[in-house]
């Protein structure tokens, strides 16, 4: 490649009346690695070109050489604000593909974890919208309560951010009493805080004037752009994977799907807030259902699938069959059935899909992640065109873009 020794300006760049502004890849106003090359006329955005891929890590290629259980840690690193949902989504894809039946208790435990993850995801997104409109307090305040969620993860799986939680067929261990105590503490303390958080913003004049009417999109355009999740619902389409194609026994729960009308930043904020209340209600229902299990049913935390679920360590040392399965699983020597599947879960920011193609080998032949924010980030230019530069920053945060997911 020819090396350029000086900067050549494009033709006409001296005469033009707009300014070219480069934001990013790393910039305090973009929460994540996003680059935008904007044309601005004064403070109005004329056009923008998004550059993505700065933290591309070739997950789809990596997955082609890994047995199914080793792909779970890869999914952690997609949307790292709600990694348990990604983990569960992957487990559910595998279980659907392998046609495994799961005990109800496992489903309910998963629902608790997934809804906690949804709360922590929305919490970050909404409080960051607050930060970008000039209200730092809410962000710092709710971080304490995200910490409570992380402590629950820690109690269940040992880690906090990149969780690798659960296994194909269930959980790696049963929830301890401490985990349930921590869950109760969260359920007791959090709703009050969420109400305070909402009071801080929802009818706050400054916040309303900054967010209403900015970054809006119609339902038809949002669908054409492939929006899913809270961003689509804020535009008025009541599409939620949990309702439309229930997984992990979501059909057993009673919850509402909040929708907005204008699809602007304010509606997105409100939809996420309302969803957090619904998530709390789902967690309460799931916890109640779990407490109803009695006797041996109350101890079930995984399905009986020796081909995919690691045996207990003491069995590995004492029983031949367990030793064989342990070896085969760890070495990735389980042949998958032939076929393909598309399976989706409702992630923190939209429909997180897994398209798995297997040719009968031990690793996926091809695995494609449908990453919601990669698809809807395309609409960014349309959302901010003609608006103020400072509103573009708010729009970007309120879309809940997660660089790790976008770049896969």
């Amino acid at each position: 490649m020819e090396h350029q020794t000086h900067i050549t300006l494009p033709k006409g760049s001296i005469e033009k009346t707009t300014t070219t502004l480069n934001i990013g890849p790393t910039h305090p106003a973009t929460h994540g690695v996003f680059q935008n090359i904007m044309e601005v006329d004064g403070e109005r955005v004329v056009s923008t070109e998004q550059t993505v891929g700065y933290i591309h890590r070739a997950f789809e290629k990596l997955a082609e050489r890994r047995p199914l259980y080793q792909i779970t840690p890869i999914t952690d690193r997609l949307n790292y604000c709600s990694s348990p949902i990604n983990n569960m989504g992957w487990h559910i894809t595998c279980e659907r593909f392998l046609k495994l039946e799961l005990p109800k208790r496992v489903d309910y435990l998963r629902v608790i974890i997934m809804e906690l993850a949804r709360i922590s995801d929305h919490l970050i997104c909404n409080s960051i919208v607050g930060v970008d409109t000039g209200a730092y307090t809410g962000f710092l305040y709710v971080m304490q309560y995200r910490e409570l969620i992380y402590e629950i993860y820690e109690e269940v799986c040992g880690s906090r951010l990149t969780t690798n939680i659960g296994r194909i067929g269930g959980f790696e261990r049963n929830f301890t009493n401490t985990a349930f105590t921590k869950l109760e503490k969260f359920l007791n303390e959090y709703p009050k805080v969420l109400k305070e958080f909402e009071n801080l913003f929802a009818r706050n004049r400054i916040f309303m004037e900054r967010t209403q009417g900015t970054g809006g999109i119609s339902a038809a355009r949002a669908m054409n752009y492939g929006f899913t999740g809270p961003n689509l619902r804020a535009a008025g389409v009541d599409y939620d994977v949990r309702v439309q194609q229930p997984y992990s026994s979501y059909q057993d729960f009673d919850f509402k799907v909040p929708v907005g009308t204008t699809g602007d930043n304010y509606d997105r904020f409100l939809v996420r807030n309302a969803e957090m209340y619904e998530s709390i209600s789902i967690i309460k229902q799931a916890y109640q259902k779990i407490q109803e299990f009695k006797g041996t049913d109350a101890e079930v935390y995984h399905a009986d699938v020796p081909e995919y679920y690691l045996p207990k360590k003491e069995d590995v040392y004492t029983k031949m069959e367990a030793l064989i399965w342990h070896f085969k699983i760890i070495m990735g020597e389980i042949d998958l059935p032939k076929g393909q599947i598309y399976s989706a879960v409702e992630g923190g920011n939209g429909e997180l899909g897994f398209y798995l193609v297997s040719d009968g080998g031990r690793t996926p032949f091809r695995l494609h992640f449908r990453r919601p924010c990669f698809i809807y980030y395309q609409a960014f230019e349309e959302l901010i065109k003609g608006g103020m530069l400072s509103d573009a920053v708010v729009t970007m945060s309120s879309l809940n873009l997660i660089a790790g997911e976008l770049d896969a």
Binding site: M1, G53, G226, Y239, Q244, Y342, V357, H368, F374
Partner: protein, 168 residues
């Protein structure tokens, strides 16, 4: 009337005859194929026919089957009808030497980046795409990394200088 996989299949066969083929149902999703020349006609029919209404493009991606001579590269479309809540998988294949496939980005704005991604990783040339260039990889890259001819590095290789990574 609820839309079923059979109805979709019948409608498609009625419209396109034997140009649409290989219907199968796996995990509740109907999948079918066609030649790449009519991909836009099929997508547009699925979009515009009121009784089908597949107006949402969930996913678009590529798959590489190096052993299928003449049809090494496959473009897979996942479509969704929200009101009937039914999914559909549609794929077209192309040879690795002649990779032109018509772009769906005029029908679905969401296809724009997904096609760029598919181009980036598989080198499928989407004819009529407004801005077909690499998206996740660097522009200077001169190969298409998700094709099977580019295997991952051998994990057992020993000729590598690992000092930089603290393993030397």
């Amino acid at each position: 009337m609820a839309l079923s996989n059979e109805t979709i299949q019948n409608k498609l066969v009625e419209k396109f005859g034997d140009q649409v083929l290989n219907f199968s149902t796996a995990s509740g999703i109907l999948s079918f194929e066609s030649s790449k020349e009519i991909n836009l006609k099929v997508l547009q029919y699925l979009y515009e026919e009121p009784s089908l209404g597949f107006t949402f493009l969930t996913d678009l991606c590529g798959v590489n089957y190096p052993d299928n001579k003449g049809a090494e590269l496959v473009v897979v479309y996942h479509l969704h009808n929200f009101s009937e809540n039914i999914r559909l998988r549609y794929s077209v294949s192309t040879s690795v030497t002649e990779t032109a496939v018509f772009t769906a980005s005029k029908l679905f704005e969401s296809a724009n980046w997904m096609e760029r991604e598919t181009y980036d990783f598989f080198g499928i040339n989407f004819v009529g795409h407004p801005n077909l260039k690499r998206i996740l990889n660097v522009d200077e890259m001169d190969y298409f990394p998700l094709r099977k001819e580019y295997p991952l590095e051998d994990q057992t290789r020993i000729d590598k200088d690992d000092e930089m990574f603290g393993r030397g």
